[in-house]
Each structure stands twice: as structure tokens, then as C-alpha cells.
């Protein structure tokens, strides 16, 4: 579904990614783990067109999307829920979700998808008219995921959905993500600092370090790898 070949990204004099390659199969959940500055977020930003790669190729559904503008990539069905959530703080929850459906013209589809999102995160329905900036971190994350779904994605990228969120809510959000993946066989590329959780829900994982892929394997294998355990699982 998504193939990244030899992707490199540079910010000024600093090289953030040194030739990363990865694959996400249709219907799978793949996770990128690694410390701060390892290049996880940059990888997602390059895929969704927010930063221009210096070299490498990104294929989505067999088509080359390298260097396209973000809005063109969204149009092709690749949604990105960014780091820090970036909800529209001054818009209401409802407006944020409608914003997510910016490219959708079919009002019936929008209505039914809204229902789906509310079914997934009932809290959002309770907060409908509230400004997104006043939501808690966990609710904002739900909104960010909901907004991404409203763009009718065929592929979903999530950057640190657990960031700054109470453990109970994190569990809930991850449970919904797994359901989402199963029900719709929606492929997910997940960036997560909470390696334990990420390896739990994913089928395959990549360990990034200083802009390179250090390890890649089935998640269950990575979970038991002593290297990963000592560096990221605190054990």
C-alpha cells in the first residue's frame, strides 16, 4: 500500500533522515519507534508532503507521490494526524470535523461518517459545540483522529497519539484504533514513543535511530529483542 524507498530529508545543515526505507501492507498496522530526534516525525511529514525530501521515492498505491503538496496527497486518500494534534483551537468540535471533510461533497456520506466517528469516540458528541482549544489532551487527540477520518482516508498516519494523555484514555484510543483497522481494514502507520503499546497493537515495527532504520521485524520479535527492551522498554 505504501512504500518508502531510500528517503532522505535535510533541514538546513542537519540531515534528519539518511535513506529510510519502509513498507506498510494493505490492512496492516506498522509502527515506527525510537527516541526524540530519531526521525520518526520527519518520516511522516515527508510522506504527507509537509517537508520536501532531498532524495528517495514514496509510492502510495503504486503511484509516485514524492514531492506533491499536502493537499494533493490528502486528496489521494492519505490522512495524517500530526504531532501535537494541531486541531483548530478556535473552531468548535463540529467545525473541526467538518473541516476534515473539506474535500467531501457527499453530504450523506459526511453525515454517516460523523455518526461513525461519534460512535468511536462518544465524548466528542458531548463536546460538539465546545471550542477545540478547551478540550483535554485526550479529547483533542480523539478529535484529531476523527478529523483525519473525515477526509475519507484509505491510509492513516498517526504521530504520537499517546502524547501527554492519561494512561486510561491512551488505552481507549488505542483500542479504537485497532477496531478501526479491523473493521475497515484501514492500514495505519503509527509513530509512538510508548514503544510497549505500539508494539502491542502493530504487526510490524521499525526502530529508528539518528535518521536510520536500526531494526525492523515483526512486532512480537522486536518486543522480545534485548536491544529494544533496554533502550525503549525500560527493562
Amino acid at each position: 500500500m505504501l512504500e518508502v524507498h531510500n528517503l532522505s530529508v535535510q533541514y538546513g545543515a542537519i540531515t534528519a533522515l539518511h535513506g529510510i526505507s519502509l513498507t506498510v501492507p494493505a490492512g496492516g498496522i506498522v509502527t515506527l519507534i525510537g527516541g526524540t530526534g530519531a526521525g520518526k516525525t520527519t518520516t511522516l511529514r515527508a510522506i504527507s508532503g509537509m517537508v520536501k525530501p532531498t532524495s528517495g521515492r514514496i509510492l502510495f498505491d503504486g503511484q509516485d507521490i514524492t514531492g506533491l503538496a499536502p493537499h494533493e496527497i490528502v486528496r489521494r486518500g492519505l490522512a495524517h494526524s500530526p504531532e501535537g494534534r494541531l486541531v483548530f483551537a478556535n473552531l468548535t468540535v463540529m467545525e473541526n470535523l467538518q473541516m476534515g471533510a473539506y474535500l467531501q461533497r457527499d453530504s450523506q456520506w459526511i453525515a454517516s461518517e460523523l455518526e461513525y466517528v461519534f460512535g468511536m469516540f462518544p465524548r466528542l458528541r458531548e463536546r460538539l459545540e465546545q471550542h477545540a482549544g478547551t478540550l483535554s489532551g485526550g479529547e483533542q487527540q480523539m478529535l484529531a483522529i476523527g478529523r483525519a477520518l473525515m477526509s475519507r482516508p484509505r491510509f492513516l498516519m498517526l504521530d504520537e497519539p499517546s502524547l501527554g494523555i492519561a494512561p486510561l484514555l491512551v488505552k481507549e484510543i488505542f483500542a479504537r484504533l485497532v477496531e478501526l483497522n479491523r473493521e475497515r481494514s484501514l492500514p495505519i502507520l503509527l509513530v509512538e514513543q510508548n514503544a510497549h503499546l505500539a508494539l502491542e497493537v502493530s504487526s510490524h515495527g521499525y526502530v529508528l535511530e539518528t535518521g536510520r532504520v536500526l531494526l525492523s521485524d515483526r512486532s512480537s520479535v522486536l518486543r522480545d529483542s534485548p536491544e529494544v527492551r533496554s533502550a525503549y522498554l525500560g527493562g
Binding site: 493537499h71 483548530f88 473539506y102 477526509s151
Partner: protein, 301 residues
């Protein structure tokens, strides 16, 4: 009392015009975070297009239809011009620092002024008498005297403000404008083509400036290529006063500046009115550094 009402009316009229111009500054600031110095010259061109449409294209004066036609023509020409300026001068600088764009804007402003002042390429440096676009008559309400021109100015300004409000809050493209100004990155991630929205914003802001130019010229019926500078500056002050990037703020700021200017004009301090407007601005900014309705951004460390 009558005197007060008369002044109040004049102040609101002037304020409404400032508000129209200020909205353009603030909208552009919202999506691009820079001050479009050429905006005041688009305002000037708005007045000249109306003048031209009467003097050269022969639109009838003193008629509602002719007046509206001139107004619409001005707004359309200015809208196109705004879009063209953005495409040619600002878009290539999208990734550059604000200062670079600012200086380019100053360059564009100088260019428009100087071309307009040139007798061969533009209108020439001499002031021109602005025709009475709409039927003009003095109406009396008790002791209060109101000209039909004033009513037109008020009516047009208020309807345009209403239309703008409707566009921004109830249309798809308006929502997209708000989204881009809140967070351009997030906007692009929901599929908004930021470049298109920016073009649209320039077009819309310039159309309002064009209308502002026509309305201003109806009140002060002599126009010249440098007429935009001072109202432009005051509208800019109004936008900052309200909190730059904030639409209701710009409208409020415009109204305030218009009222202050008018009321000060009626006193012995009349020649100081511009200084007083700026003094108020400075005082307000010192107490509310982000303007009346603006929100202060806290830098993340």
C-alpha cells in the same frame, strides 16, 4: 446634542470606511502573517477606477444604477489586481522571511503610486474632482442633516461587512480561510489548497479596499495618486488596534479610529487628530500588547 449626533454619524461613516480597508490588512495578515503595504494603493485605485468609469466609459452620474455599476467595477478590478500582485510579487517569496516580503510590498506600493502619478502611464500627479456617483440630496431629520451620499456610504459599507461575515462564517471557502489563518499546516492536512485560499483572500480584501476607495472619494470628493497613504495608514493602525488577524477586531478598530478622528476634528485639537489617534493606539498596545481582541501567543521554550 444635534452637534453630537452629527459628529457621531460622521465618525461612524469614516469608521466604516476604515473598517473596510482594515479588514483587507487583517485578512492578509491572517493567512500570510505579513503587512501588505500595497493595500492602501489598491484603495486609491478603487477610487480611480470609479472615476475612470464615469469620465471615460461614460457611466451616468447621479444615478443609483450607474453608481452601483461603478462600485462593482472598482471592486472587480481591485480584486483581480490584488490576486495578480500576490501571484507575481508575494507568492515567489512564500518561504522567505517576513521582512523580505514586507520590503517587496513597499516596492509594489511605490510602483503603483509612481505609475499612477506618471502622466503617460497613469493618471498624472494632479488631483481630480470626483463625480457624484449617486443622486445627491440633503435630507433633514429634525435638526440633523444627512446627505444621500452619506446614506449610500453607510448602506454599502454595512452590507459589505455583512457579506464578508457571511462568506467567512457560512461558506466553504470562508471556513477554509479561517482554517488557514488558524493553522496553515493543519489546513493543508485536511486537503485545503493554501495557495488558492491565499489568492482568494487577496482578491476579497482588495475588493473591499476598492469599495472603500470609492466610498471615501464620495465623502472627500478630490482624488489623487497619493490619497491612499494616510487612510491606509490609519486603517492599518485600526487593524493592529483590534488585534491584527482578527476580523471583528479590525471592524472595531476602524470604527474607533473613525470616531476619535471625527470627534477630535471638532475640537481645538483638530490639527492634532492624527497624533491623537496614534497616541491612543500606543496607549492601548501598552496595556493590551496584542490589540483589543487579539490573543497573545506565548512562545514555547
Amino acid at each position: 446634542m444635534t452637534e453630537f449626533l452629527q459628529q457621531l454619524l460622521n465618525g461612524v461613516l469614516l469608521g466604516a470606511i476604515y473598517a473596510l480597508i482594515a479588514l483587507g490588512y487583517t485578512m492578509v495578515y491572517g493567512v500570510l502573517r505579513f503587512i501588505n503595504f500595497a493595500h492602501s494603493d489598491v484603495f486609491m485605485l478603487g477610487a480611480f477606477v470609479a472615476w475612470y468609469s464615469v469620465e471615460k466609459l461614460g457611466l451616468p452620474t447621479q444615478s443609483i444604477g450607474g453608481g452601483l455599476a461603478a462600485l462593482l467595477l472598482s471592486m472587480s478590478v481591485c480584486a483581480v489586481l490584488g490576486v495578480v500582485i500576490e501571484k507575481l510579487a508575494y507568492k515567489p517569496l512564500r518561504q522567505r522571511s517576513t521582512l523580505t516580503v514586507l520590503i517587496t510590498a513597499i516596492g509594489v506600493s511605490l510602483l503603483i503610486q509612481n505609475v499612477a502619478q506618471n502622466s503617460r502611464l497613469g493618471f498624472g500627479p494632479n488631483p481630480k474632482a470626483f463625480p457624484a456617483l449617486f443622486p445627491s440630496q440633503q435630507l433633514h431629520f429634525g435638526a440633523l442633516t444627512v446627505s444621500t451620499h452619506q446614506l449610500v456610504v453607510l448602506g454599502v459599507a454595512l452590507s459589505l461587512l455583512g457579506v464578508l461575515y457571511w462568506i467567512v462564517h457560512h461558506t466553504r471557502i470562508g471556513t477554509a480561510m479561517r482554517a488557514v489563518s488558524f493553522n496553515a499546516t493543519a489546513a493543508s492536512l485536511v486537503g485545503i489548497n493554501n495557495d488558492r485560499i491565499i489568492s482568494f483572500t487577496f482578491g476579497l480584501g482588495s475588493a473591499l479596499a476598492g469599495a472603500g476607495g470609492v466610498l471615501y472619494a464620495m465623502n472627500y470628493p478630490s482624488i489623487d495618486p497619493l490619497m491612499g497613504t494616510l487612510p491606509g495608514l490609519k486603517a492599518f493602525v485600526a487593524a493592529v488596534l483590534g488585534g491584527i488577524g482578527n476580523l471583528p477586531g479590525a471592524a472595531l478598530g476602524g470604527l474607533l479610529i473613525g470616531l476619535v478622528e471625527t470627534f477630535v476634528s471638532g475640537t481645538r485639537l483638530s490639527t492634532f487628530r492624527d497624533a491623537i489617534a496614534f497616541g491612543i493606539l500606543i496607549a492601548i498596545l501598552l496595556f493590551r500588547p496584542a490589540g483589543l481582541l487579539g490573543k497573545l501567543k506565548v512562545e514555547k521554550v
